[in-house]
């Protein structure tokens, strides 16, 4: 079995900052949330959220437990509606159209906005069938096309070399880190434009975490990524912009470098410097 080599982005720190600045001018917002509120029953979980997620960038959402960051992420692909008694007001614009517009079904939205979950959740099926599941439910039956999608998706998730000889083994036999990359590959297989990641490395060991982070860095060349994370170093390492959530509100939303080096709000400073969390 060959070892995986993951190409590191060759940008030097200064170059990184430069990229961030051009980003701000050129890249359009994929998701725009305007005055967005969300309640679980009587309890308000999100208050007046006004942030946007820009195309082909990594947007990190950080904040202490229970601050609403996962809720926000799940609102973007309307997964939050699986929870009973959810009520929402305000606007969520995806690609210039409201995600609540009756002409767009949740199925269409979720085909373009994929999701990777906190705990790796492969289906109790083979590696191949896990990846082919998405294309199949969208009507692709041709075996050759499916084979190609499976290979491309696994390659793009840097998992191909590790699993190419055992595609028909049960996915549960993979390690936790491999399972999570499989879930990312499964998400890539439906060819989304946005990938939402809900603490994708919180259940992984440091090495697997590193691999997933490398993967996220390369994925942003093609995809728009929003990632919820508890790990502030992770946000600093991989994201272009960061939103700091506290008690259901956005305290600060800015370029990552700004949030971590020179935050405008005292509370942001307190959180990123580890005074609470």
């Amino acid at each position: 079995m060959s070892t995986v080599t993951i190409e590191r982005p060759k940008n030097k720190p200064q170059a990184n900052v430069k990229v961030l600045k051009t980003v701000e001018v050129n890249k359009k917002a994929m998701f725009e949330t305007q005055n967005f509120n969300l309640w679980y029953g009587e309890k308000q979980a999100l208050k007046n959220i006004d942030i946007s997620i820009h195309e082909k960038e990594v947007t990190a959402i950080i904040g202490p437990s229970g601050c609403g960051k996962s809720t926000y992420l799940k609102a973007l692909n309307r997964m939050v509606e699986l929870v009973p008694n959810v009520r929402m007001t305000g606007k969520v614009i995806y690609d210039n159209k409201s995600i609540f517009d009756p002409s767009v079904t949740v199925e269409q939205l979720r085909t373009q906005v994929g999701m990777v979950f906190q705990k790796p959740n492969p289906f109790p099926k083979s590696i191949y069938d896990n990846i082919a599941y998405g294309p199949k439910i969208h009507g692709i039956r041709n075996k050759m096309i499916l084979d190609e999608i499976v290979e491309t998706s696994l390659r793009n998730a840097y998992l191909w070399d590790e699993v190419k000889d055992r595609l028909h083994e049960n996915a549960y036999r993979l390690s936790g880190g491999q399972q999570q990359r499989l879930c990312i590959a499964r998400c890539l297989a439906i060819d989304p434009r946005v990938i939402l990641m809900d603490e994708p490395t919180s259940a992984l060991d440091p090495q697997s975490t590193l691999k997933v982070e490398e993967l996220i860095r390369t994925l942003k060349e093609k995809y728009t990524i929003a990632i919820v994370t508890h790990n502030m170093q992770q946000a600093a390492r991989i994201s272009d912009r960061t939103a700091f959530f506290l008690n259901g509100e956005v305290v600060e939303f800015a370029e990552t470098a700004h949030i971590f080096n020179n935050p405008s709000d005292k509370r942001t400073e307190g959180y990123v410097s580890g005074q609470f969390g």
Binding site: L109, P124, C183
Partner: protein, 296 residues
Amino acid sequence: MTIHYISASERGTRMKMRIIINELAKYLFLLATLFGIVVLGILLYQIFADGFSWLNIDFLTNKLSTDAEKAGILGAILGTLWLMLVVAPVTMILGVGTAIYLEMYAKKGKIQSIIQTNISNLAGIPSIVYGILGMTVFVRTLQLGNIVLAGGLTMALLILPITIVASQEALRAIPASLSEASYGMGATKWQTIKNIVLPAALPSILTGAILSLSRAIGETAPLVVIGIPALLIPLPGSIFDKFTVLPVQIYYWTLDSTMIKEYANLAAAAIIVLLALLLILNLTAIIIRNKFQKTY
């Protein structure tokens, strides 16, 4: 300074008492367990002593006869198999369908909880009441007569609540993270149920269905109420024929054993066959459960 509330010798005697009571407790519970096993042992001994020597190929392949020496249970075995052929699909389709609706579609609320309570209540209704229901609806109103179809539908209703509850538990055991992954890729609810939830729940659903089926095979009362003929009838060849089943045959032989003594032996031999059938079914359920047991 330590304060001693009881003397060392007193603590010693108390300790002895505690240990004795501890031992006594163990044997008390062992006794409770043994009671059931001993009763089962006596039962089996009695049945085998009465029936085993009567059990042979002829007994399995002969038709019913008034002559105890010639009598066989082929008709009852065929009747039981035909009955299963009606009960299994009907209870599976209705039971799993209901479970899917309640678990996956129904909004959690008053109406859902009323339905749920009623299903649990149905499971506790005496089987003879189902017999009266079957007689009224299937035999009389639909004028099916006392044929396999009528008996099978009655039995399917009888075990339906158990199948529903077992299927619901099976569906509930599938972690939400799996269906979330499916929804997250743009799958519809039905695609998610069909491709992810049902296949994962199927082993448990099958186990529950087989166990409830074994209950249907052992039931007597509903079929007696429907009016299974005690007379000699031709072997059933389809679900539209009149039929008898093992437990009903056992019942009639036991009734008549006051007149003809050998009927008691025939009943015992038939009981052995029935027990073997139930054992095979339960074994199948256990094998399915162990083979497909998965950790998510």
